[in-house]
Symmetry: C2
Subunit: 303 residues, 2 copies
């Protein structure tokens, strides 16, 4: 099998192709393409009738679906699941930062214990959109003896959660919001999840609870969140993603005493590339062995 | 058994005494004293010939040993082990903050990803002084697939560590320093552990590694650490304890780009009292049942 890595020929990914057992080639000769470093609009430049499989570098495929590049006759695989561990680790870090008020410690220039420090141990953690990241987070939380509540699209019970509700079960979602000390947003960005956490949802959260968003900024109403943080009823918000994104310089969320902004850094480049390389190697190996590929894109579902 | 709680009669601890099966009394009538809220110098005010047992509120007992209050004829018990879960949770939080550079994010007023972000997953974690806190930290780290290296006084293998060296095994300690992505200091403060992490130890640490101190400030040479941080070879330092403590206002460690100072907050009051109350209840129950007390102080060892 001949594989091209492009439009940017990242050496780590080329090495993964070779480690998986395939041969590197020009785009024109390749039956498989490992996409890296360009927008989907550039796909036409590398596409050709002999192309059978394209490995995409991201977990979400919204821009690819929107661009129309996901053409028939080619199998597309996303990197879904590849980064779940990395993002879950970041989410746990943000939960601990909120619980222990580390953002205030980081900003201080004098020795003073912040008020309101608490523990993650023994708390209740609600996960809105418990997919791959949610499962990875539940695994990390196991030694903390937490009670996990989950919401997902299907309502199919999530391992490690004491309750799982369907996303359209209004009462279930309200129960999660009311009982959780930490509400972690990890759902995909779709029309249904836009502004999922709005003023009403924020008002239903437990006093002192922390909101952690590692999904997409569009899932949280920024204005409503800022009002809720100013009011002081919530513990705070830890946001890896925001709306708008990037936040403008000096936006009040940056230095808000009840907020910590992580600039879409849950899956940093330094960790992304090795994780993607592992996925590329595994999928190349699978392709050569005739085994099912990981992360095959379902065009109809949009992920 | 008559027990006095003082010099501050904290209701939560008085309730624990009663829950353990003993009777509350004045200091003069008590055969046991649960110490809370005063320095060891005040001990003489509550001491009397009928006193048999004193439960101290802290895990470390240096000020008690230094004050000479640990007199013969009385059994002293510390709170060692009581706070291990809480402190380990804080230590993991500080590791994640360092790995993901959350201290820099917390200080920022604009959207910019810090350099040098990394993961805890798959890293090597060295624990200097792997006692109760170390064991609790290893339990929290289990889902991260880390490699744990440990040093303790006895060299007795620590569960979950791939290697354990005796504290006086110079080569072993050097191996831990050289291989660890995170060096967590969790040893008691004794004459032997003073300035355990000095300029030489810091120079032996892996480039980019983070130092996390949740033990006592005296275990790390502050001047040498600051020099090492300025030099930029280390990833950084997350310090819950410092020397001197408190750090003076505006000390360069507070806003150092490679440091986060947590003001001796790993075991915040809000979590300390419930944990201490559980220990008091358990030790009162044990005393009444003639069972061995938890945390009996070894005057010779100094903890």
């Amino acid at each position: 099998m001949k594989v091209h890595v492009g439009p940017v020929a990242l050496p780590e990914l080329e090495a993964a192709v070779v480690a998986g057992g395939a041969e590197l080639s020009s785009a024109a000769d390749a039956s498989a393409l490992v996409w890296y470093g360009g927008p989907p609009e550039q796909f036409a430049e590398l596409d050709h009738p002999g192309l059978e499989w394209v490995q995409l570098p991201s977990a979400g495929i919204e821009p690819w679906a929107a661009s129309g590049a996901l053409r028939d006759g080619v199998t597309f695989t996303s990197a879904a699941g590849t980064y779940a561990q990395t993002v879950a680790e970041h989410a746990l870090g943000l939960m601990l930062v909120g619980a222990r008020q580390v953002h205030l410690m980081a900003r201080a220039s004098r020795w003073a214990k912040p008020d309101g420090m608490r523990g993650v141990h023994g708390s209740t953690v609600g996960i809105l959109g418990a997919g791959g990241i949610g499962r990875a987070l539940i695994a990390l939380l196991r030694p903390f003896g937490v009670r996990v509540l989950a919401v997902n699209r299907s309502g199919k019970p999530v391992d490690g959660a004491v309750a799982t509700w369907r996303a359209d079960d209004v009462e279930g979602v309200r129960e999660l919001l009311a009982e959780s000390d930490f509400v972690v947003v990890a759902a995909p960005a779709t029309a249904e999840t836009a502004q999922l956490v709005d003023a009403d949802a924020l008002a239903r959260m437990k006093p002192g609870a922390w909101l952690v968003n590692v999904a997409r900024g569009s899932l949280v109403d920024t204005g409503a969140l800022l009002a809720a943080l100013d009011e002081g009823r919530l513990g705070g918000a830890a946001l890896d993603v925001t709306d708008p994104e990037p936040l403008p310089d000096g936006h009040p969320l940056f230095q808000h005493p009840r907020a910590i902004v992580s600039p879409h850094a849950a899956n940093p480049e330094s960790l992304l590339v090795p994780a993607l390389a592992r996925r590329v190697e595994e999928n190349v190996r699978r392709r050569l062995a005739g085994e099912p590929l990981l992360g095959v894109v379902d065009r109809a579902a949009g992920y």
